[in-house]
């Protein structure tokens, strides 16, 4: 089982959710984050003084998947989140040693 973490542009969230639903993914967890990367922030003027918006709003999506769905899921996210412009984000994958569904106590792949 793998945990996929994707950092995407906020306005792509609906597309990504639809793409994931499309391949049968039933659950995900979403967090509002701020990103720093090649996509540079911008400088604004407020009352004549400058301020830098370094950290840009991003959305983090976490999806736990079974190994067999891994590639397909990555593919789905990568495609649906792509706008072709700098700042589209990253996908990170880590190995999950355990998954538990709190309600039923199921573990492993059943719990995803």
């Amino acid at each position: 089982m793998q945990l996929i973490t994707a950092i995407i542009k906020p306005f792509k969230i609906d597309d990504v959710r639809d793409a994931l639903s499309g391949i049968g993914i039933q659950g995900m967890t979403v967090t509002e984050v701020k990103g720093f990367g090649r996509q540079k922030g911008h400088t604004e003027l407020y009352r004549g003084a400058e301020y830098n918006v370094d950290f840009l709003p991003k959305i983090k999506i976490e999806v736990a998947v079974t190994n067999d769905l891994l590639d397909q899921t990555i593919e789905a996210i990568a495609q649906s989140a792509n706008s072709g412009k700098v700042g589209d984000g990253k996908i990170f994958v880590v190995e999950l040693s355990q998954v538990i569904r709190i309600r039923t106590g199921e573990t492993g792949e059943d719990a995803i």
Binding site: E44, L45, Y46, R47, G48, A49, E50, Y51
Partner: protein, 418 residues
């Protein structure tokens, strides 16, 4: 019959004073909202607390001694009893309106002057030090200069401003510049907010947390200003005074509109965006600019005077920022710099004649008198407070926000995460 007419005049003038006074009282809410909108959320509870407390302190201290210093020659005891009666005890002439209405109208002006200070020293000053200053300012510093101007007393027995051709209809100088002078002294002794300047001294922006509040505050002030200027005609129960009050309302509105447009356009050219906070400061600047003489300009001139205020305030804010005078809400520019402009515009439409009016030299002397007195006296008081108790919160408290350290309570506990 004649008596009935006198009674009606008395009643109408009194009611007019009360309505105008209530509008000026409402300005306290305006300052609170404006300042609460322009500080960061972590300093919001504290600025609100300062505002409600300073208003209360002002009302109480001006009653205890300020009013009698300003208008009563300092005879406190006779006075306190007198304002509930038909006339101020010991007054020479019978009143033409209720003395307590006059007190009510005057007391809310003091609070206005003091409100100006709270914004400028926001986000870093100790609450109790501020309130201690408020006590002295409203009990003594403001009433003294009030006595020399509206009170007609000679300045320390030396010269009488009225005789020199000084005229300040509703207080561009007496109220607004005075408040700004006290604020400036405080800001100089207090220093800039942490993070306001980069290591190499460039000003950094610290955006306010809640612009709808700041806008609401500005609208409240705009509304309240009709009372501030309109009430300063001091009578309405005749054709002449009614006309004057009406002109004052019209011009006050026109100047605010002009100020807003002036600031909006200049900010657009300077910064490339429609800067809302500058526009709001511009409206207030327009109001301050017309306050010294709202009854003589045409509405077109009033609009232009306001626009001049709006333009000046943008330039002033940027300049003070560069001079490291850190004023989170722009109070010193709006009320001080433009207050001075307002005084100097009086002779343009109301030149000195046998019947009154103002001369440029009189305005200059008056402005200097007010500024030097209020700045110097305030500096001494702030300095003493700084030496004895300290006036600035600790760096850690400033970082965490003065809401927690001074008030133990966040303004928006559920909305901000960091």
């Amino acid at each position: 019959m004649e008596n009935s007419i006198f009674e009606l005049q008395y009643a109408l003038d009194t009611f007019y004073f009360l309505v105008c006074g209530a509008l000026v009282m409402w300005m306290a809410a305006g300052f609170s909202m404006l300042e609460a909108g322009l500080v960061r959320s972590k300093n919001t509870t504290e600025i609100l607390t300062k505002n409600v407390a300073l208003y209360s302190v002002a009302c109480t201290m001006y009653m205890v001694c300020g009013y009698s210093i300003m208008y009563g020659g300092g005879d406190f005891t006779a006075f306190l009893g007198g304002i509930t009666a038909d006339g101020v005890a010991g007054a020479d002439e019978p009143a033409t309106y209720a003395p307590s209405a006059d007190f009510f109208f005057q007391v809310v002006f003091v609070a206005t002057a003091m409100s100006i200070v709270s914004g400028a020293v926001a986000e870093r000053m100790k609450l109790w030090a501020f309130l201690a200053f408020a006590v002295v300012m409203t009990a003594f510093i403001y009433p003294m200069e009030g006595a020399w101007t509206w009170g007609g007393q000679p300045v320390f027995g030396m010269y009488t401003l009225g005789d020199l051709g000084f005229s300040d209809f509703a207080g561009s100088g007496i109220v607004h510049m005075a408040g700004a002078a006290a604020a400036l002294a405080g800001v100089i002794l207090l220093g800039a907010r942490a993070g306001k300047y980069t290591a190499d001294g460039k000003p950094k922006a610290i955006p306010g947390a809640n612009l709808p509040l700041a806008t609401l505050g500005t609208f409240i002030l705009w509304l309240g200003w009709f009372g501030f200027n309109g009430g300063s005609v001091l009578a309405t129960a005749s054709v002449e005074s009614a006309n004057s009050v009406a002109v004052v309302f019209m011009n006050t509105n026109a100047a605010a509109a002009g100020g807003l447009i002036g600031a909006l356009i200049l900010a657009h050219f300077l910064f490339g965006k429609a800067d809302l906070t500058m526009a709001l400061n511009g409206a207030l600047a327009g109001l301050v600019a017309i306050t010294a003489e709202p009854s003589t300009p045409t509405p077109l001139l009033a609009t232009l005077f306001g626009a001049a205020g709006g333009v000046l305030v943008v330039l002033s804010i940027v300049t003070l920022d560069k001079l490291k005078i850190d004023d989170p809400v722009g109070a010193i520019s709006v009320h001080g710099v433009v207050g001075f402009l307002g005084l100097m515009l009086v002779p343009v439409t109301n030149p000195l004649t046998a019947d009154g009016g103002a001369s440029f030299s009189g305005q200059l002397i008056g402005a200097l008198t007010i500024f030097v007195w209020v700045f110097a006296a305030s500096f001494v008081v702030w300095f003493a407070l700084k030496a004895i108790f300290g006036i600035r919160v600790s760096a850690e408290d400033e970082y965490e926000g003065v809401d927690m350290s001074e008030c133990g309570l966040e303004a928006y506990p559920e909305f901000t995460n960091a």
